[in-house]
Amino acid sequence: MVQELGRLRARVEELEQTNDDLQLMLETAAEHGDELTATLEEEREDLAAMLEMTTEHADVVEDELHERAEAALRKSERQLRLLVEATPTPVFISRLTDDKLVYANTMMERLFGISGRELMDRKTEELFEEPSVCGYLLEEVQKRGSVDRHEACLIRVDGSSVWVEISVRSLEFDDEPSVLFGLHDITHLRALNQASSRFVPKEYLGFLHKENITDISLGDHVTGEMTVMFSDLRGFTSVSETMTPEENFAFINSYLSRVSPIVRQNNGFIIKYLGDGIHAIFPENADNGLRAGIDKLEEVNAYNAFRVDRDRQPIAIGIGLNTGYMMVGMVGERDRMQGDAFSDDVNLTARIEGLTKFYGTSLIISHSTYSRLADPEVYHIRFLDTVQVVGRKQALKLYEVFDADAPEMRELKKDTQGVYEEALDLYYQKRFEEAQSRLFDVLQRNPRDKPAWHHLVNATRLVDTGAPEGWTGVTVMDTK
């Protein structure tokens, strides 16, 4: 029993010990758990703090960068405005969404003569004389990003116009898609150019490969084969004697302003006016020159109808055309120069023009012009004579162009052309009597055919005297 009691006691002690151990273990485990929890909690807090810090920092940096960018933008905007304000040319900006002006610099205000505020909110196209030009510029700048030096006419508020050269760029202005217009006032320049082109036509500048009259210098020239025209008023001296100086000027200018454009229209240009005469050249081809000659005569016919209606004397002109190698350029001295064309062929053309009086015809062309026509058959041309002019040894074949003769005269010359040319063939073959009879035929049908009369007189004289030795049929001129 005692033994049993002792065993039980020992067992109780053992169990108590185990219980203590377990309790200790439990406590240890719990404490360890607490510690772990605390560590985890701390780490969690650290991580939360880090995340917050990082995020906050990111915000701070972002703000700072944004402010810096804004400041830089404001600075560059201020600089841009300063730049645009100080620019000595008019500049304005228009908003694309509604095509309204949103900015104009001082020069723009000055150009338009109104304040910037008054300019604001105007439609961009209202500034243009032709609204379609504005449309074109906006289209181009959207297509290509820029337009440079486009000439356009703008209209001020008071209705006056101003010519400008416009350069256009697209840009963002106040966060809106906009377009910047830079202007260069060329009103004065244009007027000056227009004025100078009256003295040196732009065709002439182009011919000398110059863009501007300021590029022209003494000695600039072009050489090559060209067709020259001289034209002159017949009997102007006697007509002008009856007029006052004012009437003279009015008459000459009235005549020249009618015939001068014809030269231009036929790709030629006037080298100079010689009193009532015109000296022009046609660099491209002989047909241009001949077409201009015929057109000029037709214009004179129309002008005469106008004059006769007003009881004024009709006028007559003579035209000579020749083609040859010549120099066209600037002559004179540095401070006073003019365009001129010169060569032997130029002088010869003046002589040919003079012969229109002698033969009683209005338009004579040389063989060199005749041979360069694309198709002589499209004109009314007949052989006129072989001539040796003063100062030249070589004889020259001349042709009469009668396209601009009065319709009946033209028809008669056309009808008799076959017989007329046969007569001249016979004449050169020294068969003067046969030639004479053919010319009689011609004159019977057309008694006012002056060249036919000229040949008839010669043929008749040679029938009587016979051809002298060395006779070639060349008409030798002994006066200019």
């Binding site: 703090a49 880090m50 917050e52 810090m53 990082t54 920092h57 990111a58 701070v60 940096v61 700072e64």
Partner: protein, 114 residues
């Protein structure tokens, strides 16, 4: 110990416990920041009496950068004997706003922004 790069540099003087960061920290992620972090952790583990982190010449610090610095603060916290001073400059506005947050991780941290 030094780390130097075109855009930034980190100089650590062990004898004085001074860490100077200069330039702009624009590195990408913890990977690129590892050399800098290693330098900073090494300094913390050395457990000196004083550690000074001089950021006055650090113009720019990105988010991964602030993350790296906070890992350093947590590490140095494990050495209660080490006194930590961070120097910043008012010239770089972000420093005034972000650096004081390090005191959340280490309340004993001394911060001087001048």
């Amino acid at each position: 110990m030094n780390i130097s790069h075109e855009d930034y540099s980190v100089n650590y003087d062990e004898s004085s416990g001074l860490i100077q960061c200069e330039g702009s920290f624009r590195l990408r992620g913890s990977e690129e920041y590892k050399p800098i972090l290693d330098l900073l952790l090494g300094a913390a583990d050395a457990a000196p009496d004083h550690l000074t982190l001089d950021l006055r010449e650090l113009k720019f610090l990105n988010s991964s950068g602030i993350n790296t610095l906070s890992k350093f603060i947590i590490q140095v916290r494990k050495q209660p004997a080490t006194k930590v001073l961070i120097r910043g400059s008012t010239e770089h506005p972000w420093q005034g706003k972000s650096l004081k947050n390090f005191q959340r991780l280490l309340p004993a941290l001394e911060l001087v922004i001048e």
